[in-house]
Amino acid sequence: MQERITRPPAKTGKLRTGEKGRVPGGVAIAALAVLLLAVIIASFLLGRYPVPPKELFGILLSKIFPITQFWTDNMEAAVWNIRLPRIILAGLVGICLCAAGGAYQGVFQNPMASPDILGASAGAGFGAALALYAGLPSLAVTFSAFTMSLLTVALMFRVSKRAKGDRVLGLVLSGIMISSLFQAGTSFIKLVADPTNKLPAITYWLMGSLAGTTSAEVRFVIWPMLLGLVPLLLLRWRLNVLTMGDDEARAIGVDANRVRLAVIICATLVTAAAVSVSGMIQWVGLIVPHMMRRIVGSDYRRLMPATMLGGGIFMLIVDNISRNLLASEIPIGILTAFVGAPLFLWLISGRREVY
């Protein structure tokens, strides 16, 4: 009888498909870090105004080493004032959306969760539309989107407390409801907005774009981003335990409600910060965590750092396409949807089980 279970696994390799081909976690994460660095350098080189590699490295290194200028002032301005804030922002937005998506997937035990699940995006869209309607400057639009995004999720949280029964389901359903409510609000603003200049501005913002990024915006959103990202990284073991479900997590010694609240606050903070500067960028936060699961597995100890790095890489690549593919910039939100949908199909139809 003992033989039933103690028998070593059949050496067919078929039974072990779940782990087959998995790269050791540390190696994969180091490789992702190197890739991110490479993509950052490539992003500096790509752009309408040509900056050759030699000049680029000269400009970058001149901040640390005394190098006499052999590049034009225009090149220097393009690197520091245009490309640097854009690269930082694109990288951070990718990191944040993917970290939030991965975190929500864990706390809701739901592989389909994405950063907009609790209404953060819908709230940001409403806040931005409101500010654009009022004719406020771009930094105020970002601030309004950020604040409204947080308020929306706070409201959602209050509403969800009234839902009877399963806490996770209550949160998700309340998120759907509040999202819909704020999307309706946004539609109403679009309806009454001046169709010659304000309506296009609102529509363009909602498409999701990193165009015209200023360093003021970067300085504003970087703090809430870091404030959310660091705890998400630190809580990654608890996220594993939460995926077992509330009862088991509690019996193991983890206060599921408290950890979930902490994760939701952090994930909301980073999502709100990201969408307040980028607008609606969909799919990224849903698919990158799944791509990373295929590489490093489901263990959040490896998955969370890998997802953050992968998110930065993915967003920078898509942003480079958005900047350089056509003569005029394509809003990145449109591209992520174009790229994301088929990628997701590929992920769910893969031979290896995803979830």
Partner: protein, 259 residues
């Protein structure tokens, strides 16, 4: 006494589920809570585990009132082995067992090398060390149940609570899991299981608590209480109970078959 439940009552809304339940469980003993489906076995478990509050009566675990215990303190005293566990994502068997060490970690930290060693020891002890790197989703039901027992051991709690551990298992795995549970009781653990199988309760456990409609019908050593009268009362059908192998085994046969 490691677990002492005194006059426990619990109601969902106005619907009383547990009424005045009292029992004790000792270290080194295997207690089976026996009863038909829906009598409040799970509710009783959830109360003892601290997952349900708002009961009346007292639950004392290792000398401490359960209501005063934090979630973490509770996890160090009582480990829970659910009927089935289905994490939303794929984890290795080792990762699942490693989760048992969480109560000993601070909120922001991940398991250390010594925790991994403890998880490996637990797998070794249950005899499933070869499953270490397998996917939890891809092992058999019996292997999963044993993995969850290993996780409970990694939790280093003196009380183990198994919720219908054999409900989804084939015959061989049922025997294996119950034998393991009994062996752990012999080592000094307090082992409590719920079951609706009277024959298994008789064969493996030291004490039986029979629940009916949220009340304790009777409790005591299985030899004293598991008879035709109790079976009839408990399950509402006529049952013939026959003793085999010098009363090491009692077989329950439906009355419609043999009478």
């Amino acid at each position: 006494m490691s677990v002492e439940v005194k006059n426990l009552s619990f109601a969902y809304g106005g619907h009383a589920v547990l009424r005045d339940v009292s029992f004790t469980a000792d270290s080194g003993a295997f207690l089976s809570i026996l009863g038909p489906n829906g009598v409040g076995k799970s509710t009783l478990f959830r109360c003892v585990l601290g997952l349900l509050r708002g009961y009346t009566g007292r639950i004392v675990i290792m000398g401490r009132d359960a209501e005063t215990l934090s979630i973490r303190e509770m996890a160090r005293l009582v480990a829970y082995i659910p009927q089935h566990s289905s994490p939303a994502f794929n984890y290795s068997v080792l990762d699942i067992v490693l989760m048992g060490t969480t109560a000993g970690l601070s909120a922001f930290s991940s398991p250390r090398a010594e925790d991994v060693a403890r998880a490996e020891q637990a797998l070794e002890k249950i005899g499933v060390a070869h499953l270490r790197d397998r996917c939890f989703h891809r092992i058999s039901g019996g292997e999963r149940q044993l993995t969850l027992i290993a996780r409970a051991l990694a939790q280093q709690a003196p009380v183990l609570m198994l919720d219908e551990p054999t409900a989804n298992l084939d015959f061989g795995n049922q025997v294996l899991v119950l034998a393991q549970a009994r062996a752990l009781a012999r080592e000094g653990y307090t082992v409590i299981q719920t079951t609706h199988n009277p024959e298994q309760a008789f064969m493996f456990s030291d004490r039986v608590l029979a629940l009916k409609d949220g009340r304790v019908l009777c409790q005591g050593p299985p030899k004293d209480i598991l008879d035709e009268k109790l079976m009839r009362e408990l399950y509402g059908v006529d049952v013939a109970v026959s003793s085999l192998f010098g009363d090491k085994v009692r077989v329950c046969t439906p009355g419609v078959i043999v009478r």
